[in-house]
């Protein structure tokens, strides 16, 4: 490898430059409020994409439940940072919740004790775990149901704790990481297809829970407005507030990027790639394959939870039905594989580019189908169905799917391929 830094990173510079021109163009056409909103969201997606690129690119883990981790993180942020709901704390709700929570803690403690204590014979462990699990489950659900009814009728929902936004963001990462730890413990020893199925299931269950547990999340009634870490826009002056928010998210992206780059070049990153490229060889060299994978899986999911929380903080609205596989799982996969698997810069640039295209594609699809409607009637006398607009948006689903298959087939390395160090 020789030549100046410009030759070495020619592709990176070209891509970044192209993106910059594209953003300037949008700024001129759509104005600064629009552009700043788009960029903030793109930056949040970039954090999520970084989480996926370390799972997939560093360790080859196949996570298709990103939506679940985003949703879990978003909920946790809402729960921690949303202002305190006085009506709930003055109602009978808190008292009624104490019992199920204590039962749950005792149950968890007992299960941990059964699994860890050496004096319990091995054959007894499984039946004991099952019995404790079933009893705890029945007691907790029996306790929660009446409490949920009281809370819903008297206070709407629990509300939050009113803690600072950054505490909420940290909690978002922690909860996503915890869920990932449990999932990873079970599935990471098996082939990657199992992890895919398991993460898919977890995502659906988290979403179902958030949608139905009205007492905890306000369900389909949604929660807004969420607090901002920076001053909110005053008197419709969106640009300034959004620019400060953008600076904050950009700082997050840069810090996370730098930390990940360090990790990538450190012995830890080298070990990860060794495991990804040849599992048997790495494990015969004494590397604990499953433990390392668990580390990176949890780390990636923490970033997803954080990115998700930052995203909904910006929109200011927590809506459990708003989390959909297409926007929050497959779009991110496209960002990562198009940007370049295993290349952090690729993930960031891919995230921004794909998000811009994604945002632009909605009016594009609608106007395209409007043309179809007009000319279909003019030329062929074809009466377009009434739900043409909602159908037009389905075109985007098709295009995302097509992009995934085409990129995998014809450009499996993406725009910025992983750099193999040769020295």
């Amino acid at each position: 490898m020789s030549g100046s830094i410009f030759q070495k990173y020619a592709r990176d510079f070209m891509l970044a430059g192209g993106l910059f021109v594209l953003i300037l163009l949008i700024l001129m056409l759509q104005g600064s409020a629009y552009t700043s909103r788009m960029l903030v969201e793109a930056a949040c997606y970039a954090i999520i994409a970084l989480g996926l690129t370390i799972q997939w690119g560093y360790a080859g883990l196949f996570n298709i439940g990103i939506m679940g981790f985003i949703a879990a993180g978003s909920f946790m942020f809402m729960f921690v940072s949303f202002p305190v709901n006085e009506r709930f704390w003055n109602s009978a709700g808190p008292g009624m919740l104490v019992e199920p929570i204590v039962t749950l803690l005792i149950g968890v403690a007992l299960i941990v004790a059964v699994r860890k204590l050496r004096m319990i014979p091995g054959w007894l462990r499984t039946p004991l775990t099952v019995i404790i699990f079933a009893t705890t489950y029945l007691l907790v659900t029996a306790g929660i149901d009446p409490a949920a009814k009281v809370i819903e009728s008297e206070a709407g929902f629990i509300g939050g704790f009113g803690l600072p936004v950054f505490v909420g963001w940290a909690a978002a990462g922690i909860i996503a990481g915890l869920i990932a730890w449990f999932a990873g413990r079970i599935c990471l020893g098996l082939r990657s297809d199992y992890l895919a199925i398991a993460t898919l299931g977890i995502a659906q269950i988290i979403k179902t829970f958030l949608k139905n547990a009205d007492w905890l999340t306000n369900g389909t009634l949604t929660v807004s407005p969420l607090p901002w870490p920076v001053p909110k826009p005053i008197d419709g002056n969106f640009t300034e507030a959004r620019s400060i928010y953008l600076a904050l998210t950009a700082a997050f992206v840069i810090i996370i990027y730098m930390l990940l780059e360090r990790a990538y070049h450190a012995p830890w990153g080298r070990m990860m790639r060794a495991i990804r490229d040849n599992e048997e060889a790495a494990s015969s060299m004494g590397k604990d394959v499953n433990k390392r994978r668990l580390e990176i899986f949890v780390l990636g999911c923490i970033l997803m939870g954080l990115g998700g929380a930052m995203l909904i903080t910006f929109t200011g609205l927590f809506d459990p039905s708003g989390f959909i596989d297409l926007n929050h799982t497959f779009l991110i996969w496209v960002m990562v594989i198009l940007g370049g698997t295993g290349n952090n810069r690729g993930a960031i640039l891919g995230a921004i580019l794909v998000y811009i295209i994604w945002v632009m594609s909605e009016p594009l699809a609608l106007s395209l189908f409007d043309l179809v409607r007009v000319y279909g009637l003019d030329w062929f006398g074809w009466q377009a169905p009434g739900d043409l607009d909602s159908r037009a948006l389905q075109m985007r689903v098709f295009v995302i799917g097509l992009t995934i298959t085409l990129v995998l087939r014809f450009a499996p390395e993406g725009m910025l391929p992983e750099r193999i160090r040769q020295d």
Partner: protein, 332 residues
């Protein structure tokens, strides 16, 4: 006795029906998993596409003034099965085979199948719209009421349910004969057990792959059509099917068609039993309980909204305690 009839109607029959749908889907997925070695995520959407093809054919037949003793959509199902099988072979040729030829990691093929899932979903909604449709045009859904001795209620079975159960039994027997007796069926099992050895012994892998897709495609179309005959045809039919079908495959053991059937039934019955209100069955014995025990109006293991958690929970248990599944499938 009324309570028993209620139990049979609400739990046993619906468990059998949804279990059959899962089993028909899982057979295809498990064969593809065993022979082509990847998790085919687009299978549930193949079911939706099959159901939509049936719908279109049914509408054409209804427009032509055709009538039959069975629902038209059931007749339309058979050509739809052929069309879906051809589609499955084409999908394999266009989207999966290039990766196999290149020797890609199976995970890449799984991801390609996710891409295909999205494309099929997009196309179905683009052309079919997003609303739900009935599979009956100008026909009525026949409902059989069978009197049950000693009960005021009748056993209720709808025509599509009966057809589905009969079809599943015939399909399973045909498949069993095919796999154990015919040359091609034996070749399929050989490839599933050891692809390299099978190829050396002169088995035509191409035909085996085609047969796999034909079986998977036909059964998927049949399951999708009959499920939408029983309920309604929705473009997001596949949404709730994917996880239970994969759970059925893993529970039954990957590559084991009989395991897939058992797994499908197990998942189907677990789902309906988990959401069934068991208090109904205890009600006749209300008077024999001690005074301090008050029978709650609802005893269900899982609220209906969380039905999806049941297959997932079973899946996790199997992955922890018996990753090979009931029928000792492969662990990949």
């Amino acid at each position: 006795m009324n309570e028993l009839v209620f139990f049979i109607n609400k739990a046993l029959i619906s468990g059998l029906v949804i279990g059959s749908v899962y089993a028909l889907g899982a057979i295809g997925v498990t064969l593809i998993f065993g022979i082509l070695r990847f998790a085919h995520f687009a299978h549930a959407d193949l079911m939706t596409v099959g159901a939509f093809v049936s719908y279109v054919l049914m509408a054409l037949m209804a427009a032509a003034g055709f009538s039959a003793p069975v629902p038209l959509a059931f007749l339309a199902m058979f050509p739809a099965m052929v069309i879906t099988a051809l589609l499955a072979i084409w999908l394999d040729k266009t989207f999966y085979k290039p990766f196999r030829d290149r020797g890609s990691n199976p995970v890449i093929i799984v991801m390609a199948s996710l891409g295909v899932t999205l494309m099929l979903q997009g196309l179905v909604r683009l052309f079919g719209g997003t609303r739900a449709r009935s599979m009956y045009i100008g026909e009525n859904k026949d409902i059989y009421r069978i009197p049950f001795p000693g009960a005021k209620r009748d056993l209720i079975l709808t025509e599509p349910q009966l057809l589905l159960i009969i079809f599943t039994i015939i399909a399973v027997i045909t498949l069993a004969v095919f796999l154990s007796r015919s040359r091609l069926g034996k070749a399929m099992r050989a490839v599933s057990d050891n692809p390299d050895l099978a190829q050396i012994t002169g088995i035509n892998t191409k035909h085996v792959v085609w047969t796999t897709w034909v079986i998977g495609g036909t059964l998927a179309a049949a399951a999708g059509t009959m499920l939408s005959l029983d309920v309604v045809l929705k473009p997001d039919l596949s949404f709730g099917l994917l996880l239970p079908i994969f759970a059925a495959v893993i529970v039954g053991g990957i590559g084991q068609p009989y395991g897939a059937i058992a797994g499908g039934m197990l998942i189907g019955f677990s789902e309906t039993f988990a959401v069934f209100n068991w208090a109904v069955l205890l009600r006749p014995f209300r008077d024999s309980f001690p005074d301090w025990f008050e029978l709650p109006t609802k005893i269900a293991f899982v609220p209906t909204e969380y039905k999806l958690a049941v297959p997932f929970f079973i899946l996790i248990l199997v992955l922890i305690y018996r990753p090979t599944g009931i029928f000792k499938g492969k662990v990949m």
